[in-house]
């Protein structure tokens, strides 16, 4: 933690030096010296970005890896003498009884959330494409889940889903359906957090897909309707194929956002009951901050696994994009 301000200090003074050097020979000077000074100027211009990348991206990533390959007990954290243990923590994570549950939960949580968020978001985007009265207002209202602080929406969901006094159960009961323990039953806890997360993610999909729709030329639809294409055919033959690049980026961003969701699950179930709704991200958070004893090394190991998974999807996206450009 100490080294980040220090890094800022040295880096900015380096930038300062660079700036001074490039400024000094501004007057008349021999032409052969102009090449290095332009280089310095280039470095000076690039420096803020490089400093930013190093301080906010490279260093945390390095620190995370460093944490995961050392045995950071509380004592070692303070004394700064953590023992190097290589991939032992990763082996522990893979061997843990929580690992298969967390992995399956992460996959279910991510894919089910994305599938519904995307489908509903796309349906709404197509719906709002035809402007009608109040369509702007309605579209605005769909953004509410996005604007609310997560603590508010997650708490509200957990009140609504409360077994005994939640509004959802009382509605169900008036239809003769018995009490469902949404958040406290091992069969429903994961479903409940997925439902809440879908609701939270729809606006994001709606906004991006809607703006993608604006880029599809209207003539295509006119031509299609002249040829007698039905609305359904227009969607599958025009809208969906032309929206593919936007869809790909929406789904990729959604995947990465959803993989690392902690807050919704933590507020609604804390990953429980037991480990029933624990995803990899929740597990990592719990190891680091959820118990009386911070265990940074396993937390970092789980976090790095998540980064790897996100990276794999990133590469899949790049591959698909390249193939599309080639065709």
């Amino acid at each position: 933690m100490t080294s980040s301000p220090a890094a800022v200090g040295t880096a900015s003074s380096a930038a300062g030096v660079a700036a001074r050097r490039s400024a000094a020979p501004a007057g008349p000077r021999p032409p052969r010296r102009s090449t290095p000074s332009t280089q310095w100027a280039a470095v000076a211009f690039a420096a803020p970005l490089i400093v930013y990348l190093v301080v906010f991206y490279a260093y945390p990533l390095f620190r995370n890896i460093e944490l995961s390959v050392h045995d950071y007990t509380i004592r070692a954290f303070v004394q700064g003498d953590a023992e190097f243990i290589g991939f032992e923590k990763y082996a522990d994570v893979f061997a843990s009884s929580a690992f298969p549950t967390a992995l399956v939960n992460t996959a279910l949580f991510t894919f089910v959330s994305i599938a519904f968020q995307y489908t509903i978001g796309l349906a709404l985007a197509v719906f709002f494409q035809k402007s009608f009265r109040l369509s702007g207002v309605l579209r605005g209202m769909f953004l509410v889940p996005w604007l609310l602080p997560l603590i508010v929406s997650a708490s509200t969901w957990s009140w609504m889903l409360n077994s005994d006094s939640g509004i959802i159960n009382s509605v169900l009961q008036s239809f003769g359906i018995g009490q469902i323990n949404w958040l406290t039953s091992p069969d429903f806890a994961l479903t409940s957090v997925i439902i809440a997360n879908i609701w939270l993610g729809i606006p994001f999909n709606l906004v991006i897909l809607y703006s993608g729709l604006q880029n599809i030329p209207g003539e295509l639809y006119e031509a299609a309707s002249l040829d007698g294409a039905t609305g359904w055919q227009q969607f599958w033959r025009i809208t969906f194929p032309l929206l593919r690049p936007v869809s790909a980026i929406t789904i990729l961003l959604g995947l990465i956002y959803t993989l690392k969701v902690v807050d919704v699950i933590w507020i609604m179930t804390t990953g429980g009951p037991g480990n029933v709704s624990t995803t990899l991200a929740v597990w990592s958070y719990r190891e680091a901050f959820g118990t009386g004893q911070p265990a940074f090394s396993p937390a970092a190991a789980v976090g790095n696994l998540l980064i790897l998974i996100a990276l794999v999807f990133g590469f899949v996206y790049l591959y698909l994009q390249r193939r599309q450009e080639e065709s």
Binding site: T2, P273, G292
Partner: protein, 425 residues
């Protein structure tokens, strides 16, 4: 009176000394650069002692802040107080220790004491020169590791059962008859038959869940080193039985202690398991509220876990500071001081016999709480220390697995024991 005078005189002397040294240091710093600088910063620091506590609700100018300031004045120094919230405080303490900038005094939640002591960042009370003999052993124990005390409690709270008098009257239950698990379950049955909800408690998957389960766990005679013992099973089955019978709502699996208290205040529940800190709120409830101690399985009071803060003193580079630190700690823990702490913090029970007597004189209605604190046990006691958080995580997971029906109580506890053993060995 005389004592007061001398301490004040000492204070004045100390202050003068500090000022003198300060000026001397300023004078010398011009001539000899490096050494002068060293004394200058040392002398400046000796006049100011840093103090961290987890009470951001008590702002500057509050009674609590004033008391802290007065104790500094009596020791002849200025106290610079910073308040963090509980979790942030532990993290800040760890970071400051890493950087070598620890404060002189920290008030810390008791399970965190052994965690910090483990890092080697705390002095023992012996090193500090503070005598801990007057403090109740069961309360002090949470801060004892390998026979050395790393802090002293400034007050203790614990859990008991609050009951709703109106509901018990209607169901014909006499609270005095609740002496063991069987009579409690019987009372819940009667309340349930009379049409009210029985009991609510917090089974959330955090430390709070373990905190609430421990009185039953210990009340059955179970040991935290052996989570899969028959005694532990009995405790889990007691809770599970209440859920299955509908005496307790299913939502307890996800309830925090605050939520259970809110539920109780609706007036629908006969009992709630909650802590000393709700005494004021209970007095303001719309119905009459009483308390009984949590019963052990076969009768008598169950040991409930202790809550509350410890005063700890982080290791300093300059050992000369310990003298004043010890004086400040002394000042905060006089019998009068402890009673004052007790009232400032909505009934913190003083950790010394003398303090408890003084508190009971002022508010005799707290008698059951003083008894409960007498029976209470520190979570990190019995040399569990830093193993406790690891075991606790497995314990609350097991309780959640059993209550939700994800596993049978037996399976849940066996898995917990396996994981706890693996994690602590």
């Amino acid at each position: 009176m005389t004592r007061h005078l001398t301490s004040r005189r000492a204070g004045v002397l100390g202050l003068t000394a500090a000022v003198l040294v300060g000026t001397a240091a300023c004078g010398s710093s011009g001539s000899t650069e490096p050494s002068g600088d060293g004394t200058g910063s040392d002398a400046g620091a000796s006049g100011t002692y840093t103090w961290w506590d987890p009470y951001p609700q008590h702002t500057d100018g509050s009674d609590w802040a004033d008391r802290v300031a007065v104790c500094g004045e009596e020791a002849g120094v200025t106290i610079e107080r910073t308040a963090y919230d509980t979790t942030a405080l532990t993290n800040q303490a760890l970071l400051s220790a890493q950087e070598g900038t620890s404060p002189d005094i920290i008030l810390l939640d008791n399970p965190a004491v052994s965690t910090l002591a483990e890092t080697g960042m705390l002095t023992t009370m012996d090193e500090l020169g503070f005598d801990t003999a007057a403090f109740d052993e069961n309360l002090l124990a949470a801060g004892v590791m390998d026979g050395a005390a790393y802090g002293i409690p400034i007050g203790a709270n614990t859990l008991a059962l609050y009951y709703n008098q109106a509901i018990l009257d209607e169901a014909g239950v006499d609270p005095a008859s609740i002496t063991d698990w069987a009579s409690l379950t019987g009372a819940l049955e009667q309340v349930d038959a009379a049409g009210s909800r029985g009991i609510t408690f917090a089974g959330i998957g955090t430390e709070e869940g373990s905190f609430q389960f421990l009185p039953w766990f210990w009340g059955a005679g179970a040991d935290l080193r052996e989570l899969d013992s028959p005694e532990a099973l009995a405790a889990v089955e007691l809770w599970k039985g209440w859920l299955d019978e509908g005496y307790a709502p299913n939502s307890v699996i996800n309830n925090s202690q605050n939520t259970t208290w809110e539920e109780f205040l609706t007036g629908e529940f006969a009992f709630v398991e909650n802590g000393t800190w709700q005494v004021n709120s209970a007095a303001e409830a719309d119905f009459e509220v009483g308390i009984v101690q949590i019963p052990a399985q076969d009768g008598g009071g169950a040991p409930a876990p202790t809550g509350g803060e410890f005063i700890v003193a982080p290791v300093q580079g300059d050992e000369a500071r310990y003298d004043v630190t010890s004086q400040i700690v002394e000042c905060m823990t006089t019998p009068d001081g402890l009673v004052e702490t007790a009232t400032t913090f909505a009934y913190y029970i003083p950790p010394t016999e003398e303090g408890q007597e003084a508190l009971l004189e002022a508010s005799p209605e707290l008698e059951p709480w003083v008894e409960a604190v007498g029976d209470a046990r520190g979570r990190t006691s019995d040399d569990l220390g830093t193993d406790y958080p690891v075991i606790s995580e497995q314990l609350w997971t097991a309780v959640q697995n059993a209550l939700s029906g994800a596993m049978t109580p037996q399976e849940a506890l066996e898995q917990a024991q396996q994981n706890a053993e693996a994690a602590t060995s």
